[in-house]
Amino acid sequence: MSAAPDVRLSLPARAEGVAVVRQALAGLADALDFDPAVLADMKMAVSEACTNVVVHAYGEREGNLDVEMLVDEPGLTIVVRDQGSGIDRDAPRSDDVPALGLGLPLIAALSDAFELRGERGQGTEVRMTFRYSRDGDPAQERPVQGGVGKDGRWDPEAARGTTTP
């Protein structure tokens, strides 16, 4: 495979940093000659992972958004990591968070392999792999579940599409 270098980024976990990560990814993927459709999936999935860090990881505290892009034989693996509050599986859904709750389902649907690590208080790591060539569409194999609920927000339990208000 190409001699494109691995990439490591560490930047403040702020909203303006997400586009910086996308630009770095686009440059690397271009060097690796990825299909534009796969690049679009990579940019989307990485943006969602970085957004989760910006929105959820540190609360009011400052913290870092760490990203690694690892070039390997089957494809490109991208790791998005924080040292924040970690995954609280019991946390209630907040109406104050400007997110749709679609981030992880999108990452799962758009990547060829996906792993989420972390527990409460121990930070979070999202690891996703995109293959150089695909046999099929991962979004067909792992479609995004849910739809728009009656409150107008994403509801994982809702039928695909929407409930008419």
Binding site: A15, R22, L39, P98, A99, L100, L102, G161
Partner: protein, 125 residues
């Protein structure tokens, strides 16, 4: 100069068009929400034109869905449009989330304006 502008176009008079250009994510979503607020405050139909957008993420979809909900509550028409040639970074998220019929999304700004007017919810209706 803003590389990713979001501007209101009221050339259609009874329908205001929110033109979203370039890449948009969690950083620009607050600006999009402001523009959508401005558009809805005019009281007529609203079209969101994504034909010159190159990337939108779930933060943008969240802003669009919130605006759609408020438009429905206020009985204002609300339609999203894309162009003939759609960037993968826009088409893909609409497809995988199944939101094309929900928002709804149509091809072309003129068709979107017509669709808003057909709901009977343009300004002055």
């Amino acid at each position: 100069m803003d590389a990713n502008p979001i501007v209101l176009d009221d050339a259609a008079e009874d329908v205001v068009v929110v033109v979203v250009e370039g890449e948009h994510d969690i950083y620009t979503a607050p600006t999009l929400r402001e523009r959508l607020d401005e558009a809805l405050a005019r009281g007529g139909g609203v079209v969101i034109d994504l034909s010159t957008a190159t990337f939108v993420d779930s933060s943008v979809l969240g802003a669009l869905l919130d605006a759609r909900r408020r438009a429905l509550e206020a009985e204002q028409g609300f339609v999203v449009c894309i162009g003939e040639s759609v960037e993968p970074g826009v088409q893909r998220i609409l497809d995988v989330t199944g939101l094309v019929p929900v928002l709804p999304v149509v091809n072309g700004r003129d068709a979107a304006i017509d669709a808003v007017r057909a709901t009977g919810n343009g300004a002055g209706e």
